[in-house]
């Protein structure tokens, strides 16, 4: 019980830090960045690095105060560029953990967050991709990878439901089959649901959530694109493959 009360307080503290940090970075760091770096690409790189380091600090903070614990497996496989990272999405903080592991990372951001005062500045400076554009979204993602950004995509498109089967959209696979890039699945396993969709932050889990982040081997995209198979069909095959893979892997670690 005491442990739980502590985690509610610690969670409130961490989230306040996140919000205040977001405003400060937006008000101070990014205007400075724009001043010293007029070139958009260079600015985006620096902004992405700044977000990476801030998130690294933030994940460290959450671990130190005991809100979560994190175990990393094979993260050295993420130290590249132009890498498409496909992960399952059990928790709101998945993206924070992944960005803390990947420098120079782009991601797809919900159009609504452009109006969020905590996040607007950083999102704009880092050149993150909006999911607003509809048909341009895939092209934007392919272009980001081509210029060397890493890109994190959650093939589910939203957080994994706590119960019931996982559902995948085909967008992530469509990016993978159209971009000539490294494609690396990452399995995120959490011991107890932490900030799943529809649960307020103060309803903390009964025990401290333990995250296991496992970076898997790169996919051999040739198996999906062999014999000039059209992108439309390759994306269907890959989506099916990812669905089976993530379902199996998340169950496996849960059982272990």
């Amino acid at each position: 019980m005491l442990n739980k009360i502590w985690r509610v307080i610690a969670t409130a503290f961490c989230f306040s830090c996140f919000g205040i940090g977001g405003i400060l970075i937006g008000l101070i760091a990014f205007p400075l960045l724009i001043a010293v770096s007029p070139d958009r690409l260079d600015r985006a790189r620096r902004a992405q690095a700044l977000i990476h380091h801030s998130f690294r600090f933030f994940v460290g903070l959450m671990c130190v105060v005991g809100v979560i614990s994190v175990e990393l497996r094979n993260v050295q496989r993420l130290a590249r560029s132009g890498q498409l990272v496909l992960a399952n999405h059990p928790s709101l903080i998945d993206v924070v953990i992944l960005i803390s592991l990947l420098k120079q990372t782009n991601c797809i951001v919900k159009g609504g967050l452009w109006r969020n005062p905590f996040m607007r500045g950083p999102i704009l400076a880092a050149g993150y991709i909006s999911n607003h554009g509809g048909s341009d979204l895939i092209d934007d993602c392919v272009a980001a990878l081509a210029k060397g950004d890493n890109l994190i995509v959650f093939p589910e498109g939203t957080r994994t439901p706590v119960s019931g089967p996982m559902q995948l959209q085909r967008g992530a696979a469509n990016i993978a089959v159209r971009a000539t890039c490294i494609v690396t699945p990452v399995v995120i396993q959490v011991s107890t649901p932490m900030l799943p969709k529809g649960r307020p932050w103060y309803r903390v889990p009964p025990t401290r959530p333990h995250f296991i982040v496992t970076v898997e081997d790169d996919l051999d995209m040739q198996t999906f694109l062999a014999q000039g198979r059209p992108a439309t069909l390759a994306a269907r095959d890959l989506t099916q493959w990812l669905h089976e893979f993530f379902t199996r892997e998340t169950q496996q670690i849960a059982a272990a």
């Binding site: 895939i138 469509n174 992108a231 269907r236």
Partner: protein, 80 residues
Amino acid sequence: MTKDEIYAWLSKTLEEMFELDPARITPEANLVDLDIDSIDAVDVVVKFKALTGKRVQPEVFKSVRTVQDVVNALHTLVQG
């Protein structure tokens, strides 16, 4: 191109691009039921452009639901 020609082209294209059973492709068939999403629609549009040289605004497809809707939209386009 007449509507019939567009329909013939479209059903053949859908069959090839998405490995659909031709029996499922009818004018009334709903794109959602055929598991064709907005990304797929863009690919169909790109093929159509290669065939006719007509630029298609993706917005045209916002309101389409069935195969016949697509035929109508493309037909309006080649007329215009």
